[in-house]
């Protein structure tokens, strides 16, 4: 008996099946976009903690009121000027102990980036969008200073054209070809030179 060839499977509905699956995945899934501003909350302190005395000139007060108005060092300020004001305050180097600062060395402003504290206070009625904008500008002030520093000391250690944000990104990247130990050293050094001291008043 002659061998009968197998009948061909009808693939006409293949597209329909694939469309069905496609639509299922379109509906049930989302494209992840997990990025944001990372913060660390202060731990709850025991009640009998002694108050630390900080000089008024080392504190940069930022107040955000219920109408989303910004009061910086007791003066009204627009959001777009905040970054510059924060950089001026942090990079001031008033007592001359900071040899890498480029600030105006104003004796009425902060002594040293290590001592400079930014204090952020908001009210319950403040909108979240305004709060995030202010947080963003303050983080940007720190990042700007660190970037400038990284571009200055990076080439001496063999990391050319890499700002601080880039260094951190490369450090986390397992495929980075350079020397990660050396990179960590620079990152830690810059972090120590411009520590992020952002305190939130409750």
């Amino acid at each position: 008996m002659a061998k009968r060839s197998a009948p061909e499977v009808n693939a006409g509905s293949m597209a329909d099946i694939a469309f069905l699956l496609l639509i299922f995945f379109l509906v049930t899934t989302t494209i992840p976009k997990d990025s944001g501003i990372s913060r660390k909350l202060p731990p709850i302190e025991p009640p009998n903690e002694e108050d630390v005395v900080i000089k008024q000139k080392n504190i940069f007060t930022v107040l955000l009121n219920g109408k989303d108005q910004l009061l910086v060092e007791d003066e009204l300020m627009e959001l777009k000027d905040l970054r510059k004001a924060a950089i001026e305050f942090l990079d001031n180097g008033g007592d001359g102990s900071c040899d890498y600062c480029n600030g105006g060395k104003n004796p009425k402003s902060s002594d040293n980036p290590d001592k400079a504290i930014i204090s952020l206070k908001n009210e319950r009625e403040t909108s979240y969008a305004a709060y995030i904008s202010v947080q963003n500008e303050l983080v940007a002030a720190y990042n700007d200073l660190r970037n400038k520093r990284a571009l200055l000391i990076g080439p001496q250690k063999g990391f050319r054209d890499m700002d601080f944000v880039m260094m951190e990104k490369n450090y986390k990247d397992p495929k980075f070809p350079g020397d990660t130990d050396k990179l960590k050293e620079i990152i830690d050094q810059i972090r120590a030179e411009y520590p992020e001291k952002l305190s939130e008043v409750q």
Binding site: A11, M14, A15, A18, F19, L21, L22, F25, L26, T28, T29, T30, I31, P32, K33, D34, S35, G36, I37, S38, R39, K40, L41, P42, P43, I44, L79, K80, N122, E123, R124, E125, T126, S127, Y128, A129, A130, Y131, I132, S133, Q135, N136, E137, V139, A140, N143, K172, Q202
Partner: protein
């Protein structure tokens, strides 16, 4: 002459759809690879504010999500004030500590607890009152690593 003319000559030829399944499968695989399953069904409005100093949240450490915002359409009976959502339902501020401890129990090992990040997805029209309360509860639960989830854009446009 009419002998050589067939009737079908006037009709358009059918489009060849043999490669349609291939195209659709390609799209399907693309979406399967780049997307993830929805974690929670949102009962609230959740339009994130914009910022440009963003860091990527690392997936290798556990992340818990807390949502807050105005109840979405269809849930108007819960009011127009910003509310908190944990998992798939509205929650009270006082439930955060229980939520954090249950999230901790779901971790693979206890060593991961200090690395657990809480991602706050808060609507940009919410006020800071609810965010401050959430932060206070998280401090009491000792979940100190937080991340304000934002969209990428200029913060001056908020």
């Amino acid at each position: 002459m009419s002998k050589f003319k067939s009737k079908k000559d006037n009709a358009l030829p059918a489009v060849n759809t043999a490669s349609l399944p291939d195209i659709v499968f390609m799209l399907l695989f693309f979406f399967m690879v780049v997307t993830v399953m929805r974690e929670d069904t949102l009962l609230i409005e959740n339009r994130l504010p914009l910022a440009d100093q963003v860091e990527k949240l690392e997936k290798k450490y556990p992340i818990s999500y807390i949502y807050a915002g105005k109840p979405a359409r269809g849930y108007e009976k819960f009011g127009t004030e910003a509310r908190l959502q944990l998992n798939d339902k509205f929650a009270d501020i006082s439930e955060i500590q229980a939520f954090i401890s249950s999230e901790r129990q779901n971790l693979l090992t206890e060593d991961l607890i200090p690395y657990m990040t809480v991602s706050l997805k808060v609507d940009k029209e919410a006020n800071m009152g609810i965010v401050g309360d959430i932060k206070q509860e998280l401090r009491e639960a000792n979940a100190l690593k937080i991340n304000y989830s934002v969209g990428t854009g200029s913060a001056l446009d908020n």
